[in-house]
């Protein structure tokens, strides 16, 4: 067995594919790390500045909950640049997404050159290029018959080929990854904490599992089809389907399948909503006042405050519903992408790295947990929970000859000592929790691997090697 693996390894090391893969890996991982170490400190200092400013302001009108830039963005970006840089919190627990960090909205959308992209696209393709002629090539050259005429078991040969291809793909990955890590360690050593290193270490088994899918796929097709060029053709068509077509079409398919309303449809409901919930009720109060059905100015103000508060809540609910519909649509596209092992790998990696969708959800959970603490503080300092609103009203009327002005309550900034302002704490899940979240995707990858391994073995064991 050792001899066969050695022979296979030697064969692969001399191939052009291996050389190109090593060169490409070195270049792309270096670019990845250099770009990260250039941008991360800028984002991090902007974040620290925002946090300091928020604390310095310690506002009782509205506060900002800023999200820390993901320190492992170079491994898995997870679409972070399109996610909000944090949330703005109004008294009463009203959260609204803050704008994203600085992005050039005119630039065409292209995938980030993170580790996830490199492994998913470049390495999966190279595994196919390394493995397509593993069996068919030897059969064409006649060496397969020669090997099997010795006392070498077919299964042993297949295992040896599997090990060699996987090792040849993993070696440049380890080399590239190591260079990337060294660059990061020199420039941003604080990022490489034990927890983050554990997450990065988990990439290896995850990647091996993902790449095994493609290795077994190439071995299966290579032993089933006799002509190497046809093998490559089939493999590439499959690769295009799994890594390009499925992930890209899932977005438009989800859009078609989900019934989320358009932004305009949601937007046009805002006016009537406020009209119905707030202004109609204010008008009703005024007309009751005219008819003498309201006994005091205090009662009127109380009702107006209630209308304002409920209108505010409805508006927030309206925006949240839209956001939830959009998130559901994004989730549907993720589910569709999971048909492909590339999708499974991407989401598993994001979970382990704590990037992407989960990171935003976790942040929102932390924000919701913080909201009551903030409310308590505002109540303690100001005595009421009034936030910045999209609408306001001010009308005058008379009750029993007394002029009364009904106006929307305005938020009050507490002017005294605010040194006890509660600090917002963002929690990061542990690597183990990340693995737990990625479990389903990992099982999916394993199922792919087992099925393709089964197909590769059964096909090779029955193959005519003449």
């Amino acid at each position: 067995m050792g001899t066969i693996i050695k022979r296979e390894l030697l064969d692969q090391i001399q191939s052009i594919q291996f050389l190109v893969l090593s060169g490409a890996s070195l270049l792309l991982f270096t670019v990845n790390a250099l770009v990260f170490v250039k941008n991360y400190p800028v984002e991090n200092s902007a974040y620290s500045r925002r946090v300091t400013e928020t604390f310095a302001k310690s506002s009782t009108v509205n506060t900002e909950l800023n999200q820390r830039p993901n320190p492992l963005r170079f491994v898995a970006d997870g679409g972070d640049r399109y996610r909000p840089s944090g949330y703005s919190l109004n008294p009463g627990g009203f959260l609204r997404a803050l704008p994203t960090g600085q992005i050039n909205f005119k630039m065409p959308d292209i995938p980030q050159l993170d580790w996830s992209f490199l492994i998913r696209i470049v390495f999966s393709l190279y595994v196919l290029l390394l493995g397509f002629n593993a069996i068919s090539g030897e059969r064409e050259q006649g060496t397969l018959r020669l090997i099997l005429s010795n006392s070498v078991r077919r299964s042993e040969l297949l295992v040896a080929k599997f090990v060699a291809i996987l090792a040849m793909a993993t070696a440049p990955l380890l080399g590239g990854g190591l260079i990337s890590l060294i660059i990061v360690a020199i420039n941003q050593p604080q990022i490489l904490t034990m927890a983050n290193l554990a997450r990065i270490a988990l990439i290896l088994p995850l990647t091996m599992c993902f790449l095994s899918v493609f290795v077994f796929m190439s071995l299966w097709v290579s032993s089933s089809v006799s002509r190497s060029s046809l093998v490559l053709l089939i493999l590439l068509a499959t690769w295009v389907l799994l890594t390009v077509i499925i992930p890209n079409t899932s977005g438009i398919l989800a859009e078609k399948l989900s019934r989320a309303p358009s932004e305009y449809q949601m937007g046009r409901m805002v006016g009537p909503l406020i009209e119905k919930q707030v202004f109609d009720r204010i008008r009703a109060i005024l007309s009751r006042a005219e008819k003498g059905q309201v006994s005091s100015a205090g009662e009127m103000r109380q009702e107006a405050d209630k209308a304002y508060d409920e209108g505010q809540r409805d508006l927030v609910r309206h925006f949240s519903n839209y956001e939830a519909a959009m998130k559901d649509r994004a989730e549907l596209s993720r589910r569709l992408t999971r048909i492909s092992p590339a999708g499974l790998f991407q989401y598993a990696l994001e979970d382990v790295m704590h990037a992407g969708k989960w990171r935003e959800d976790d942040f929102l959970r932390d924000a919701r947990n913080y909201a009551p603490i903030y409310d308590d503080y505002v109540l303690k300092k100001v005595g009421q929970l009034v936030g910045v609103s999209n609408f306001s009203f001010a009308v005058s009327t008379t009750i029993k000859g007394e002029d009364v002005i009904l106006s929307s309550p305005s938020p009050k900034e507490y002017q005294g000592d605010k040194s006890d302002f509660p600090r917002f704490q963002e929690n990061r899940i542990s690597p183990l929790q990340g693995v737990q979240r990625a479990l389903l995707d990992l099982v999916g990858l394993l199922v792919w691997t087992i099925i393709l391994a089964g197909l590769a073995f059964s096909s090779f064991l029955r193959a005519d090697v003449r």
Binding site: I16, V31, A97, L125, S229, I245, T249, I252, K256, E263
Partner: protein
């Protein structure tokens, strides 16, 4: 002779399983994507019509909405990303569009980004270019490895004619398949009836098709060259795929990485500081007048007209100062995109993308032309607001002009994409010449 070679090549391609796989995939994708994109266009168009009806603005503010471009069904480009709505007033000149919900509540960028549009342009750029490689990688190498090349050339077949025959035969099949799937897509557009394509649109579509042909020729002649150069078909295919992934996936990406890292954009804080500095000269006067106006209203007195006029003037100056800074920032954003394109100018995929989005008017140029009308409308608002303090009767009569901007003419679009078309053409010619020279010198035994 050429005719016989052509016939043989075309027949061979047509009966090959790879052609059948490729064309089926392309047709299925083309039909699916057109149906979905058309439904999406219909929704956006309906929103646009509703918004035009509902969001008229008032005397002080004009709401402008930007409709979807009809050809975005085929080449989506940046059409969905660039926003739909803005509000112009004498005190505010928008430098960019937001979604329909407005600047602070709209998340239109966030939910749209991340998914690549699957449209005609994507299918040609990715699927057809791969199909070209699959069809052409063995056109010479396989004949050589099977020994038929020596056999063919042992007859009185000139080498250049054989290569030309292979080139034209393959091209016929590729362009034919592309046109068939495009035709299906057009059929859906015409039968769908929800999109009104003008004659100019059809001419633009014809130009997009021509661009697609040029793009595919580039990959075809590249594949032919590699096929001549490398004797083993599988190695030829492998090399071509590595070149493909570099040219279509990695190189354009590196262009963006280079532009984003070598072209610095000012931070949001710097932009805010610049805006403050630009208005600093007027700041004190502005606050003084605001205070005077406030005091006047609080004391129940009607403020002096000259005070109101000066306040309107200063608000307009403020809007202009802010706009200038925003415009400078916008210019930098555009320059960064241009640098990304320049850095990746050797990628046929980038040339194709630049050309087709310009032709479909789903690129930055069209957006910037649209935004160029803002300044004129703002001027009218400023004049109108001043009338309020100078001549109230004239103010009541005055009507704001409709929003105008100069859309790019067909001739201008065609001449603008000429460099990209020529570049694609020359890359194709160079590879064909290389293939030609290598084939003439090739040992066919």
């Amino acid at each position: 002779m050429l005719k016989a070679i052509l016939r043989r090549e075309i027949l061979e391609y047509l009966i090959s399983p790879k052609f059948l796989i490729g064309i089926s995939l392309a047709v299925v994708l083309m039909v699916t994507s057109t149906v979905i994109n058309l439904a999406n266009y219909r929704q956006r168009q309906q929103d646009y019509i509703d918004a035009q009806r509902d969001l008229k603005g008032d005397r002080a503010t004009t709401t402008i909405v930007r409709g979807p471009r009809p050809l975005s069904v085929l080449v989506q480009g940046l059409d969905r990303k660039l926003g739909t709505k803005m509000e112009v007033s004498s005190w505010g000149i928008p430098a960019s569009l937001s979604g329909y919900m407005g600047y602070y509540t709209s998340d239109h960028l966030r939910f749209l980004s991340g998914f690549e549009a699957v449209d005609f342009a994507f299918i040609v750029r990715v699927i057809f270019s791969l199909m070209v490689i699959f069809l052409a990688y063995n056109s010479v190498s396989e004949e050589k490895s099977q020994g038929t090349l020596g056999l063919v050339l042992s007859h009185s077949v000139p080498r250049d004619q054989l290569l030309l025959g292979k080139f034209l035969g393959g091209l016929f099949v590729i362009v034919g398949s592309m046109l068939i799937s495009a035709l299906l897509s057009f059929l859906i557009l015409v039968l769908g009836r929800s999109i009104a394509l003008s004659r100019e649109d059809w001419e633009r579509i014809a130009a997009i098709l021509l661009f697609s042909v040029l793009y595919l020729i580039t990959f075809y002649s590249l594949s032919l060259f590699v096929s001549v150069l490398v004797n083993r078909p599988s190695i030829a295919l492998m090399i071509l795929l590595q070149v493909w992934i570099f040219l279509v996936v990695i190189y354009p990406n590196l262009g963006v990485v280079i532009a984003s890292n070598f072209y610095r954009l000012p931070s949001q804080e710097e932009v805010a500081q610049q805006k403050e500095a630009a208005f600093q000269t007027y700041e004190a006067e502005y606050h003084r007048i605001e205070k005077d106006l406030h005091d006047s209203y609080s004391s129940g007195k009607r403020p002096d007209k000259s005070l109101g006029l000066r306040n309107a003037e200063l608000s307009a100056i403020h809007a202009e100062c802010v706009y200038k800074v925003d415009q400078d920032f916008n210019r930098r954003l555009t320059e960064q995109v241009a640098l990304a394109r320049r850095a990746a100018f050797l990628s046929p995929a980038v040339l194709f993308d630049t050309g087709t989005t310009r032709l479909a008017r789903t690129d930055l140029n069209d957006y910037e032309r649209f935004m160029s009308g803002v300044l004129d409308l703002w001027q009218s608002h400023v004049e109108n607001t001043k009338l309020l303090y100078k001549d109230i009767a004239a103010f009541r009569k005055a009507k704001l002009p409709p929003y105008r901007y100069a859309s790019e003419s067909r001739a201008d679009s065609f001449s603008a994409v000429l460099p990209q078309a020529l570049s694609l053409f020359f890359i194709g010619v160079i590879f064909f010449m290389l293939a030609h020279v290598s084939f003439l010198k090739k040992d066919v035994r």
